[in-house]
């Protein structure tokens, strides 16, 4: 029933140290088909299908062209018909710093430019050490690189092998019969995400809306996909941070700001922040490689302003900058076809019905929802906290919100993944943008509210008429009398809602002693809801009492 595998390799263990095992290696340069399942949390499941020709006996499959950001501990390989012995993943990016570090002990050419004449001198040297600075050994002695203030550069004859390879996952398979196999490789990789956006178009009386849902998916990796099957999973997966062995990247460092992009007004994506961090790390590492001995001069400890200080030329430090062009994004919008939805466990899975190309650093938009004539209610809401500094703070401005039930009766009844909803109101022949709101993950059968603007044409004021402490049956309490005034400049009647939180941990649930309008309890709040006629005013007066909970 269960097979517990011994950690066993067929290779002979008696080879002398350092000798490479004589292994058969099969190279698969690229996947034949790719399926990409994108999650909202900077993560995707990549499933690759590869045709390989397996020889008999133990073999190492070199799976080239995997996504660089793959999490090796998540890799699953099936379809080989052989026992899996081990998998290795190693990838090091070629950077100025990694080039130097991987070249220790190797010959390089040091090229100097003489200041006056511009004459070049070439010197054969060996990199002796790369730490805080670089030490070179040449025929006539040892020297530190870039400590002389002469323009100096290093020339390498080749990129070290570890740095030139494409991202490759090596899979060692136990022996078996020779023949062609279709191997499926799946793994999680970071750098993918998607989000939902909604466009709601209201009718002139704000009783119906047409709702469109769009998914914007992003590939922030350097990998490109051709004719990939793409799925999107809307759900909140339990993901652990990588220091716990999980798949989620560590939280961003505080030192990298999250100022919005001046052009788009959007906050930087997780990838942008990671890229900034990576750049800073490389620049920092590079600066470290350019260390020298103390370079103070006779005047460097004198007060500044009295002297001209010669700066050390550390030419390489600025070379860590990247070509801006790399970060340009291309946005693709698909046609009017709508993706299909199915349930995956407790999440929603959206499937693009056609194979898609996804380029590096590309985002793509697809429609996933289209509903017409959804029944909505438009409300103007004022929220008042229960007895919290109400003498000093005026109530919130009345906010405008749309409320609907996510069910069939309201002509909806579709799961809504969290996203930004943009509301458009009719004007003349077209529509104008009226505001936007975040909506959370909303299953079918749950009421939805989208608060998309603050009302300009509704004035709401608040007066604390009276406030007194009372003592009754040996208990202290507070009684408040309050009034709200509303004035409308709109040309239609609107519904106004006043919500007062009914509990705050210091007082019992308040009792409404008197109210000029009907009050009800909803979701733990006191709620007044009434019509405000066009161009008219209305008042709400009430008295509340609540006993203290304190002992």
């Amino acid at each position: 029933m269960i097979a517990v595998r011994r950690l066993w390799l067929l290779a002979c263990g008696c080879l002398p140290a350092g000798m490479v095992l004589a292994q058969v290696s099969v190279l698969s340069p690229a996947p034949d088909a790719v399926s990409l399942t994108i999650y909202r949390d900077d993560l995707a499941l990549v499933t690759e299908t590869r045709q390989v020709e397996l020889p008999a006996g133990e073999v190492t499959l070199q799976l080239q062209g995997v996504v660089e950001s793959l999490l090796p501990q998540s890799a699953v390989i099936s379809g080989s018909g052989r026992a899996l012995v081990e998998t290795d993943y190693r990838f090091e990016r070629l950077t100025p710093a990694s080039l130097l570090r991987r070249s220790v002990g190797k010959p390089v050419t040091l090229v100097r430019t003489a200041p006056g004449s511009g004459a070049l001198t070439r010197l054969q040297a060996i990199i002796e050490s790369v730490g805080e600075g670089v030490v070179l050994r040449a025929a006539d002695g040892s020297e530190a690189w870039q400590c002389s203030r002469l323009p100096e550069r290093l020339e390498f004859s080749e990129v070290p092998g570890e740095l030139s390879a494409a991202p490759t996952l090596s899979v060692r398979l136990a022996g078996g019969e020779a023949g062609p196999r279709t191997v499926t490789v799946s793994y999680l990789a970071r750098g993918f995400s998607f989000e939902a956006d909604y466009v709601a178009k209201l009718n002139s009386s704000s009783t119906r809306m047409n709702l469109e849902g769009w998914i914007t998916l992003r590939n922030d990796t350097g990998a490109s996909f051709r004719q990939a099957a793409v799925q999107l999973v809307a759900g909140r997966l339990n993901l652990l941070f990588e220091d716990q062995g999980g798949s989620r990247a560590m939280p961003d460092d505080w030192e990298f700001d999250d100022d919005p992009d001046p052009d788009t007004g959007l906050p930087p994506s997780r990838q942008d922040q990671q890229r900034a961090r990576e750049e800073a790390r490389i620049a920092g590492e590079l600066a470290l490689l350019h260390g020298c001995w103390p370079t103070g001069t006779s005047t460097s400890e004198l007060p500044s302003g009295l002297m001209l200080r010669m700066d050390v030329v550390t030419g390489g430090a600025s070379a860590a900058g990247f070509d801006d062009g790399v970060f340009l994004e291309e946005v693709q919008v698909t046609g009017s076809r709508i993706v299909s939805r199915e349930q995956l466990g407790d999440y929603q899975l959206y499937r693009l019905p056609w194979p898609a190309d996804l380029n590096p650093r590309q985002s793509k938009q697809v429609a996933f929802l289209r509903k017409e004539g959804v029944h909505v209610k438009r409300l103007y809401r004022v929220v008042v906290p229960w007895y919290d500094a109400e003498e000093t703070s005026p109530p919130d401005k009345a906010s405008v919100l749309l409320r609907w039930n996510n069910d069939r009766a309201s002509k909806m009844g579709e799961p809504l993944p969290s996203g930004t909803m943009r509301v458009f109101e009719p004007q003349g022949d077209g529509h104008v943008f009226a505001g936007e709101s975040r909506i959370g993950d909303t299953p079918v059968g749950v009421p939805v509210e989208a608060r998309f603007a603050n009302a300009l044409d509704i004035d709401a004021d608040f007066t604390l008429q009276d406030e007194e402490d009372y003592r009754r049956s040996g208990r202290n309490g507070v009684r408040i009398a309050a009034s709200h005034g509303f004035a409308s400049r709109k040309d239609v009647a609107v519904t106004v809602e006043v919500r007062r939180r009914a509990s705050d941990g210091q007082y019992e649930t308040p009792v409404v002693v008197r109210s000029s309008l009907r009050v009800r309890r909803e979701d733990g709040n006191l709620v007044w809801r009434f019509r405000l006629p066009a161009g008219k005013g209305r008042r709400l007066d009430y008295v509340l009492e609540a006993a203290e909970l304190r002992y």
Binding site: I2, W293, G345, L349, R475
Partner: protein, 466 residues
């Protein structure tokens, strides 16, 4: 075998060349790594030695760069250890200049106008804050004039190295022709278990695959090493990784009941050993995975849970936690202990393709335990709490009336386990719309069945007092 404490830096300098003879030490004849899962490994090198009688300085190349030098143990028949050094004085331009104080270097100046070079010999007087030189009768500061000046060092001091190096000073009365055994603890090597569970909800089954993920961040590669892995929490002082792992495992509470079954796995005292049966090469910065467990069919179910630690109202419903529950008992189809690690759970989509649905961490789990992995939050199963009222019924006693609306948008009925925890010292349920149970002195739980595409309301009143 003798064990000596690390004796400190710089003692090499005391050694005069006359004492030392050039020894020949071969490369690793055998290399064993015992890797713990808390950023620690025991490394043993066996190297053939061929030494004449006398005193020798023996340098060990290729030891872990993150060696804990105070744990080094050195043993060879006929060799007596005098002292042991771990040099981590790395060769940098700055160190090179520091070590050149009192020595002569060559200064090559380049005329900025003509490019002509002039070479002078200088004595380095100081290298603190700047470099002070004596050139003939003159004293000057290097590069005070801003003119390009190269500094050429005739040789690099012996104890400045490109990587940290372990060396010992040893003496033998007779020629030695045997193996030297060197063992030490090192950081930077670690392993973790990773599991892949493919969960089939309709069949109430899961398959489980276990992988050992070995990581080598020690800065050194190890060729053809015999590796064994130790699963268990050995105590190590000041080990942040271990502390973090214990903290995370406890906080997570995936183990619902400890197991009582024993297995055939080799035990080392209170720990389990996982040997890798063939020599393995572990390169620097490499992540390697080795399979260690495969169970094609174990019984597994799914459950929904949500805990509330206070009495309050939420304007928006919260999603219920989804947990996959299984046992690693023999009866359930597993019968193996599970070393601590992350379980990644997959479910098949409408086309039969496995899709990732979440992950959770398990502690070292003895066989026969019951586990409940939190994989995510249900899109379609939600709970909305409302604090209906707070009443002070006597001078000490307060009653809280709660209403929980549990909604299910799935097309199958579900049961949600709802917990109310974190109450005061004395508490009781005075009213409830359906029968619940007390879970501990300060908590209650209700199992709330919800029909397909429907909702169920749970109401209860809890009185608590101090």
């Amino acid at each position: 075998m003798r064990t000596l404490r690390w004796t400190g830096l710089g003692s090499l300098l005391l050694l005069t060349a006359a004492h030392a003879q050039t020894p020949t030490i071969g490369s690793d004849r055998q290399l064993s790594l015992t890797v713990y899962n808390t950023d620690l490994a025991l490394i043993e090198h066996v190297r053939p030695a061929n030494l004449p009688a006398g005193r020798h300085r023996i340098e060990f190349k290729g030891v872990s760069a993150r060696i804990l030098p105070q744990t080094v143990s050195f043993g060879a028949a006929g060799l007596e250890l005098i002292e042991q050094n771990f040099d981590y004085d790395l060769l940098t331009p700055s160190k090179l200049m520091e070590k050149a104080v009192g020595q002569t270097v060559r200064i090559v100046r380049t005329n900025p106008g003509t490019g002509a070079e002039t070479t002078e010999t200088a004595e380095v007087l100081s290298a603190v804050g700047g470099v002070v030189l004596r050139i003939g009768e003159r004293i000057e500061v290097l590069r005070d004039d801003g003119i390009p000046a190269r500094v050429i060092f005739d040789k690099v001091p012996e104890n400045l190295r490109a990587s940290p190096t372990l060396s010992v000073l040893a003496e033998s009365r007779a020629p030695v022709n045997s193996d030297i055994r060197l063992s030490y603890l090192s950081r930077g090597l670690s392993w973790a278990a990773d599991y892949v569970a493919v969960f089939d909800e309709t069949a109430a089954q899961a398959s489980l695959q276990g992988w050992v993920t070995l990581t080598n961040n020690s800065g050194t590669g190890f060729a053809d090493a015999r590796i064994q892995l130790v699963a268990g929490d050995i105590n190590v002082v000041n080990n942040e990784a271990q502390w973090l792992q214990r903290f995370n495992n406890r906080r997570n509470a995936t183990t619902r009941r400890g197991g009582t079954e024993s297995t055939e796995r080799t035990q080392l005292a209170d720990y389990y050993l996982y040997p890798i049966a063939h020599p393995t090469t572990l390169a620097s910065n490499q992540t390697k995975q080795v399979s260690f467990l495969e169970a094609p069919r174990i019984a597994a179910t799914k459950g929904y849970e949500q805990s509330f630690t206070d009495f309050s109202t939420l304007e928006e419903p919260v999603s219920a936690e989804v947990r996959v529950k299984f046992s690693n008992s023999r009866a359930a189809g597993l019968g193996e202990q599970l070393p601590s690690g992350v379980v990644r759970v997959y479910a098949r989509d409408g086309q039969g393709q496995p899709q990732f649905v979440g992950e959770d961490r398990i502690d070292h789990t003895g066989a026969g335990s019951e586990l409940a992995l939190k994989i995510g939050e249900a899109f379609d199963v939600t709970v909305q709490p409302t604090l209906e009222s707070t009443r002070r019924v006597s001078s000490r006693r307060t009653e809280y009336e709660m209403r929980y609306v549990v909604r299910n948008a799935r097309n199958a009925p579900v049961t949600v386990t709802l917990r109310q925890t974190g109450m005061w010292r004395f508490n009781e349920v005075t009213q409830q719309s359906r029968e619940g149970r007390r879970t501990d002195a300060r908590g209650f739980a209700w199992d709330v069945p919800v029909p397909a595409n429907g909702e169920t309301e749970l109401r209860f009143t809890i009185a608590q007092w101090l």
